[in-house]
């Protein structure tokens, strides 16, 4: 426990500016009004108004009650309903249960029955509800510059169709994002049948086609894709693969990983994670051994591992990597045959994936830790198909182009010049969520319906079928991709509902169809529809075909934003303001450089740098990222949108500008320092641990030797209170534990809390001043040298101290304790002295410096939880342990005439957590999970020496280093 933990390079160096910032409770200017542009920017952001409709008299405003005319049978005002549906995301399907208040969806949770989510969620799922109510969504069918109607489009298509039917669609082209949906797959087949000569391109800017190609190479024909079963793996080797972070299947993989982490606590073998990567990722942060290495050296690592594992001639050494390290990985894999898992990232070339498949197969891992499933019902991404399409467009052989979603004008590689090619197409028909970069150039643009508004279906990666069931009619008359594709494929305008049911008739059978269909809608999936794994053909010589990478120049990586993905979620304020899990930056995407690379270029944080790739330049700010491989620069996609909407336009830099279709994942760049700097808004330096042991971790050996190592890290003085303490020995006594051993730092809890508790978005300028409002933050700590530090995450909500320091200083008793141990915040009493925040040792209180919700568009108010007060200016707020959920669960149990049992109350963060790291429950219920976790010897309280008696405590992290490398 002698490690030094640090939160940022500024803290490590203890620079004067860091000190000056730290010693202020609120940063300089925190209580000043934002001026000029920033003020206007702030008002444009979301929020909600509390203004009452005119004070006609001093007596009271007249308030109207507007009942239904004909009450819908299933709706009881005041009682939320929950429906199962599915969020399609690329070829992944997230099974959801969505809460709806009087027909208004407000909160998304995972569906416990669905294999992808099993009740948990990720950031994208949580943020999707805000996307539904985005006031900047496309609101009309448009023909050129004029508003039109869907019926007019259908008529126009009928004309176009006649012409294309004559020549089999030779001048017709369809561009679609990748999907996995039985209905859309069926319609695509029908479309091909109707227009056999039509050109079809499937394009995803963030593509896993290299992974698919590895099986197609040897399979020739259909392609199967891997499904990782991380829970079965004792040894995981992630090669440039962020399986716990930036991955469509993150929820399932994090859940599986957490199972293997917790195994140690139950006395079973604990898993071990090895990571080799260029830039820090969540997977690297969780790794027991992490090696920073340029991406182009990964093939050499695979070859070296193959030689060690399989024998034979091949590369043994990797420049810059200790042989001992590779020996240990190979030994670990060989010691755990059938329980190992090697994964390469989607940015690695086909050959690496083929070699990894061969390695996994040789070690007996295929079938246990990784299974392969046929990509039935799927349209697989192929970047080359877009290149071909653009060539055809430029050649003038495409007269009608239908874009079924996606935003190629923004996210196609810059060298393709998609916009110029699109202008050469006579009839461009675009289905788009917003009037975005692509829709602006369209002849016909059709508003795309949100998945909560339209009928569709989806197949999960393991083949499990589910239906996308709408919870609300399209707010702006949007159409789903299924409906537009249905029109193209059949020539008839059919509703999504009809199209999906047509597909499901043969799946469920004509007999008892309605009954089974209702069961599918109710459960959110077709039980037992997962496909059996297939055996992929394996090229056993694959590792000998690995080409060594060239090592000239600085390596540039393009990674999707962990939240905005390829840019499609750019107008989602929650996701923009969510700190990046690794850099902790909001509202921007600087170039990430290692400390040494930054030094050699003469740049520091916030300085501008010009990145030039194949003659094209992009100037953007720099963030120095400890632990990144030297000689690499990481660019994040999804920012720099021109036409995203009020929130997402002109935020950050557009990395697609320097992305070339020849090397879309990893390329070579030259970097030059540019004049000037840009202010960034990180959240990490708002506070410091001052050398106190907030993070406690130990190795598996230490844990086995002394399970209570964390509690012994601090010698507590005799804790005595200055007054008689209240006892908490009746009723429910709520408490929480957070398991640092499971937490991967993914931030799902932060957005889930934001969604549940009506937390406002404040904007970049406000975040820079330390005014972010998130009730739970995920602190990132580094440990070790800045070149290759380890990274640890710690989520920090309100600790709900029994001896709460905040309560002792509030002059108006606006923060007091309730009988169930909650430190409650009474908004209506708060006069905004901020004494409580000043006295809070954990820095978890958030102050409404402005009325952030005052100018919220009417539409955005619909997303708010009716069970939680919307706070106004001058009021302090903080985590409440989701007191509204506690109250509702208590009442539900009481009315059902049964006692409240463990699991009835789940906080929003706990429910979302993919790693199940959060336990919450009643301390007086001996069977509750929270009592069990509090009894874990790893349990410790933050700053216990202050005698604040926090109800939220932590379980120390246990690492599992390989015995051969234990010293390093």
């Amino acid at each position: 426990m002698n490690e030094t933990y640090w939160r940022s390079l500024g803290e490590l160096e203890d620079s004067p500016s860091f000190r000056a910032n730290l010693e202020r409770e609120f940063p300089e200017g925190a209580s000043e009004l934002p001026e000029g542009v920033s003020r206007r920017e702030m008002l444009m952001l979301l929020g909600a108004s509390l203004s009452l409709a005119g004070l006609a008299s001093c007596r009271r405003p007249v308030e109207k009650i507007v009942p239904y005319v004909t009450a819908p049978e299933e709706i009881v005002p005041g009682v939320p309903l929950r429906y199962a549906t599915t969020m399609p995301f690329g070829r992944s399907a997230y099974g959801l249960v969505v809460e709806s208040h009087e027909g208004r969806p407000t909160k998304i949770e995972g569906n416990e029955l669905h294999p992808t989510t099993s009740g948990r969620s990720n950031v994208r799922m949580q943020g999707a509800i805000l996307g539904l109510y985005d006031p900047d969504r496309a609101q009309h069918v448009r023909h050129g510059d004029k508003d039109a109607t869907w019926a007019e489009f259908v008529a126009a298509w009928a004309e176009l169709e006649k012409k294309h039917l004559e020549d089999g669609g030779a001048s017709l082209a369809l561009l679609s994002p990748s999907f996995a949906s039985p209905t859309r797959a069926r319609l695509l087949q029908e479309f091909k049948g109707r227009f056999p000569k039509a050109r079809i391109a499937i394009y995803e800017p963030v593509s896993d086609e290299n992974v698919l190609a590895a099986t197609a190479l040897v399979d020739a024909g259909t392609s199967s894709h891997p499904v990782l079963h991380v829970e079965n793996a004792s040894v995981i080797v992630a090669l440039d693969a962020d399986i716990l972070g930036n991955d469509p299947e993150d929820v399932r993989q994090i859940a599986g990983f957490a199972v293997g982490r917790r195994a140690a606590i139950d006395g079973k073998p604990m898993n071990r994670l090895w990571a080799v990567e260029a830039a820090y990722s969540l997977t690297g942060a969780m790794a027991d051994h992490r090696l920073r290495l340029q991406s182009r050296q990964i093939p050499a690592v695979v070859a070296a591992l193959a030689t060690r594992v399989l024998g034979g001639a091949g590369g043994v050494d990797v420049p810059g990597v200790e042989a001992k390290w590779l020996d240990a990985v190979a030994k670990d894999l060989k010691d755990n045959r059938g329980r190992g898992l090697i994964v390469a990232g989607p940015g690695q070339p086909d050959a690496v994936h083929a070699a990894v498949l061969a390695l996994n197969a040789a070690l007996g891992n295929v079938g246990t830790t990784v299974t392969y499933h046929e990509s039935a019902n799927a349209a697989l991404p192929r970047r080359a198909s877009l290149n071909d399409l653009v060539s055809a467009m430029n050649a003038g052989t495409v007269t009608t182009l239908v874009i079924l979603g996606g935003n190629p004008v923004y996210d196609a590689s810059a060298d393709l010049e998609f916009a110029a090619a699109m202008k050469k197409v006579a009839n461009a028909i675009v289905l788009a969520t917003h009037v975005d970069e692509t829709a602006k150039l369209a002849g016909w643009s059709i508003p795309s319906a949100h998945f909560l508004e339209s009928w569709d279906d989806a197949a999960a990666v393991d083949g499990t079928l589910s239906v996308v069931q709408p919870l609300i009619v399209p707010l702006f008359g949007g159409k789903g991709a299924t409906e537009l594709l249905g029109l193209l494929a059949t020539g008839k305008d059919q509703s999504g509902h009809d199209l999906v049911r047509q597909t499901w008739k043969p799946i469920l059978g004509e007999a008892a169809f309605e009954k089974r269909w209702n069961r599918v809608l109710h459960d959110g999936l077709l039980a037992g529809s997962a496909t059996a794994p297939v055996t992929p053909n394996i090229d056993r010589q694959a590792s000998s075909k690995l080409a060594a990478g060239t090592a000239n120049g600085i390596e540039v990586h393009f990674r999707p934003s962990p939240y905005l993905h390829d840019g499609r979620f750019a107008n989602d304020g929650w996701l923009q303001e969510l700190p990046d899990p690794v850099t902790k930056l909001t509202w921007d995407n600087p170039a990430l450089l290692s400390p040494a690379t930054a030094k050699s270029l003469g740049v520091a944080d916030e300085d501008l740098v010009t990145v030039t790739v194949r003659g094209v330049s992009l100037t953007l700010p720099v963030t120095v990222m400890p632990g990144q491989a030297d000689g690499t620069v990481m660019l994040t996609l999804g920012y720099g949108r021109k036409d995203a909407g009020r929130v997402g336009s002109a935020v950050g830099a557009d990395a697609y500008a320097v992305r070339c279709s020849a090397a879309p994942d990893v390329d070579t760049a030259t970097l030059v320092k540019a004049a000037g700097s840009v202010k960034l808004s990180p959240t990490q330096e708002h506070g410091s641990m001052e050398g106190r042991p907030l993070i406690r971790e130990g190795s598996l050996e230490e844990y086995k030797h002394d399970p209570a190592f964390a509690q012994e890290a601090v010698e507590l003085p005799k804790l005595e209170s200055m007054w008689n303490e209240k006892t908490y020995d009746t009723g429910h006594q709520w408490a929480m534990t957070i398991d640092l051993n499971s937490c991967v730092g993914c931030n799902a809890c932060v957005v889930a809390c934001q969604s549940e508790n009506n937390i406002p978005v404040v904007g970049k300028e406000q975040v820079r001043r330390g005014r972010e409002m998130h009730w739970v933050r995920v602190d990132r700590y580094f440990e070790g040298a800045p070149e290759q530090p380890r990274m640890i995450f710690q989520p920090v909500p309100c600790m709900q101290c029994e001896n709460a320091p905040c309560e002792q200083v509030c002059p108006v008793a606006a923060t007091v304790h309730d009988d169930e141990g909650l430190n409650v915040m009474v908004y209506n009493r708060c006069i905004g002295t901020r004494y409580c925040s000043n006295n809070c040792p954990y820095k978890v209180r958030r102050f409404n410096f402005f009325n952030y919700t005052k100018d919220t568009p009417e539409l955005l108010k619909l997303v708010q939880n009716p069970d939680v007060t919307v706070r106004s200016r001058g009021v302090m707020e903080k985590c409440t342990y989701c007191t509204q959920r506690i109250n509702a669960a208590k009442l539900d149990a009481r009315l059902a005439g049964r006692p409240l049992v463990d699991g009835d109350v789940k906080t929003a963060c706990q429910q979302a957590c993919p790693a199940s790291a959060i336990a919450f429950g009643d301390l007086r219920d001996p069977s509750s999970n929270v009592v069990k976790t509090k009894a874990d010897p790893r349990n410790y309280a933050l700053l216990a020496e202050l005698n604040s008696k926090p109800r939220t405590t932590y379980l120390a992290k246990v690492r599992n280093p390989h015995p051969d490398l234990a010293v390093s």
Partner: protein, 207 residues
């Protein structure tokens, strides 16, 4: 004799005292809210429907046992009877319009709690608090009037000592129910059968 100091002292005491007393009384919900009696767009008579005709409260306020809100009935609920009864009454013109056009009625809220107070009907019905306890003798009101201040201290009076206000759950909607002679025995019986523990801390009602 200079009377000014005395004068000043009296003024200095009386005026603030009067101001405090004035705000205390005239600013309190007892004065500002009790007796609020807005004229509704349709002169619906609770006296007729609930009193003379004896409709149960829950015929219209159907969700009172299961939801936080008792629910104002949909137009359809009026038309269930008025399709046949008083079909041409002028007073019902707005109701018929609403049913014909589908545009909802706009009633005026009488009993209003602040937005930061999360009152729930279902808990109170389950605890055996009669409608009449908070709403008064609705069955005698031609125009619904607020009878109680609905202030926080008024809520807490009952939350601190609910026993005198409780009745069997079966009698909740009975407007004419009176406590039996041996009220203490009933209280004890109710407390044993259906113990309640109403919250008296902030988070019970404020979130």
């Amino acid at each position: 004799l200079n009377k000014l100091p005395l004068f000043a002292a009296v003024i200095g005491l009386v005026v603030p005292a009067a101001a405090i007393a004035g705000i205390w009384y005239y600013g309190s919900p007892k004065f500002t809210d009790v007796g609020y009696r807005p004229i509704q767009p349709v002169p619906y008579s609770h006296k007729l429907h609930a009193g003379e005709l004896g409709l149960d409260c829950r015929y219209c306020h159907a969700s009172v046992e299961i939801s936080s809100v008792a629910n104002i009935p949909p137009t359809q609920a009026c038309m269930n009877c008025h399709r046949l009864v008083k079909r041409d009454s002028e007073k019902l013109a707005l109701i018929r319009d609403s049913a014909a056009t589908g545009s909802p009625m706009r009633w005026i809220r009488v009993h209003k709690l602040p937005d930061y107070a999360y009152f729930t009907h279902r808990a109170h019905v389950a605890a055996g608090i009669g409608c009449v306890t908070c709403h008064g003798r609705i069955d005698t009101m031609e125009v619904v009037t607020q009878m109680q201040p609905l202030s926080m201290s008024w809520c807490l009076d009952c939350h601190r000592n609910p026993a005198p206000f409780r009745r069997p759950v079966s009698e909740v909607t009975n407007m004419k129910w009176t406590a039996p002679k041996d009220a203490a025995a009933l209280s004890a019986k109710l407390a044993a059968q259906n113990p309640v523990n109403p919250p008296v801390f902030c988070s019970g009602c404020h979130r």
